[in-house]
């Protein structure tokens, strides 16, 4: 038996340098404000902190009325998508040190969905269009045994299974901003996830739904969605694959 031997003196971890970050947050309280307005906050943060930590610090130490959604705080639940310095990002995945701290950091709610309060928007229209593409397995066989799938068949749609429905892509889409009728990238990504799943039999139904004036043909390939996706999904590519499948007539 060997025991761990402490070699030399324990070294104290180097202190994480701290700095002052200025956040300019777009505030809105429907009961008080007629229009949203921008409010400045100065917070002392560390190099390991994220935008979400700064928001927490503001809410807990400076202004308890600041409202925003967050749940897991680790980039999985998709609650805290917001517009940070003009780009849709998850606040919990954006490190302050990666932003230009010589300038203030602008934080506002995602666009294109009705603003409810501060950084919170009404997600109902987003989930309505998600529901309308039937995001569930459609299969005629009874679920009595495993539905076997090869590695290649699984890999075909692996990319789009990563979606966490944070709405960063849909609310970064200029076509979605115009009238909100467009299905939006997130709904198409989730349709893609089932259209190219070998176990699923509803591909044709979903292709018909998306073969619409407000479906994939409204995509103008601006790549905002691919840039916004916190999961690194190549959203525009997925949309292009759905377009190609519609033209082919099958997945």
């Amino acid at each position: 038996m060997s025991t761990a031997v402490l070699e030399g003196q324990p070294t104290a971890p180097a202190e994480v340098p701290s700095f002052t970050a200025t956040l300019i947050i777009r505030r809105y309280d429907p009961e008080v404000d007629a229009e949203p307005y921008w409010q400045d906050f100065d917070v002392t943060m560390h190099g390991t902190d994220r935008v979400l930590d700064a928001l927490h610090k503001i809410k807990w130490e400076q202004d308890g009325s600041l409202s925003f959604r967050r749940s897991c705080a680790h980039g999985v639940c998709g609650s805290d998508a917001m517009r940070i310095n003009g780009r849709n990002r998850l606040a919990c995945k954006t490190l302050l040190k990666d932003l230009d701290l010589s300038k203030p950091i602008y934080v506002e709610a995602i666009k294109g969905l009705p603003l409810e309060k501060d950084l919170i928007v009404d997600m109902d229209p987003f989930f309505e269009s998600y529901k309308s593409i039937q995001p569930f397995l459609i299969a005629s066989s009874k679920p009595e045994k495993e539905r076997i799938q090869s590695v290649a068949q699984r890999a075909r749609f692996d990319e789009t299974t990563k979606c966490i429905l944070c709405a960063a892509c849909t609310s970064s889409c200029p076509v979605f901003w115009t009238d909100g009728q467009y299905f939006g990238p997130a709904a198409i990504v989730n349709a893609h996830r089932f259209i190219f799943d070998s176990r699923d039999e509803g591909a044709q139904v979903r292709l018909d739904i998306l073969n619409d004036k407000e479906g994939v043909w409204r995509c103008r390939t601006t790549f905002n969605c691919t840039d916004a996706c916190p999961r690194g999904i190549e959203v525009t590519k997925a949309i292009a694959e759905v377009k190609a499948a519609i033209i082919r007539g099958k997945a």
Partner: protein, 150 residues
């Protein structure tokens, strides 16, 4: 062991909103296909007019008249005219659909695009098909120098 069939989950399934010919799909495909041809047609046009031979200095009325004396360039320009104008008009239609929110404004813009496109296509087609550098019955002073004496 047997399992009951699982009923389909309730979802707000709406049947496709468009019936009949799917213009949006064909419009999208038209943009891709015509774009492909236009790359060849336009760059060919630019090369022949501006680079080949004497380059841009060669362009004058006689140059154009010379091109239009061959069926090849008539067909080339005819294809370019139709493909490019419809391509451009369809692009502007999508812009109007994206950005003109008021129904009346949208209608006005769409009709204006349609009318101007048809007008331009008809005018251009008329010129290409009926172009004659030396029309009969014109005074010799009004004709270009290369026309044969009447």
């Amino acid at each position: 062991m047997s399992t009951e069939t699982i009923p389909t989950p309730r979802s707000s399934y709406a049947p496709p909103r468009t019936r009949g010919v799917n213009w949006e799909k064909w419009g999208w495909m038209y943009m891709r296909i015509s774009g492909l041809f236009l790359v060849i047609l336009i760059f060919g046009h630019l090369f022949v007019n501006l680079v080949a031979g004497d380059g841009v200095r060669a362009i004058d009325f006689a140059f154009v008249a010379g091109k239009y004396s061959t069926p090849f360039w008539k067909v080339w320009d005819f294809a370019m005219l139709w493909l490019a104008l419809i391509h451009g008009a369809n692009g502007m239609r999508t812009l109007v659909n994206d950005y003109a929110r008021k129904p009346l404004l949208r209608r006005v813009f769409l009709v204006a695009i349609l009318v101007s496109t048809i007008l331009l296509i008809l005018l251009g087609s008329l010129v290409i098909t009926t172009f004659d550098p030396c029309p009969a019955g014109m005074a010799a002073s009004a004709l270009p120098s290369f026309c044969p004496a009447p």
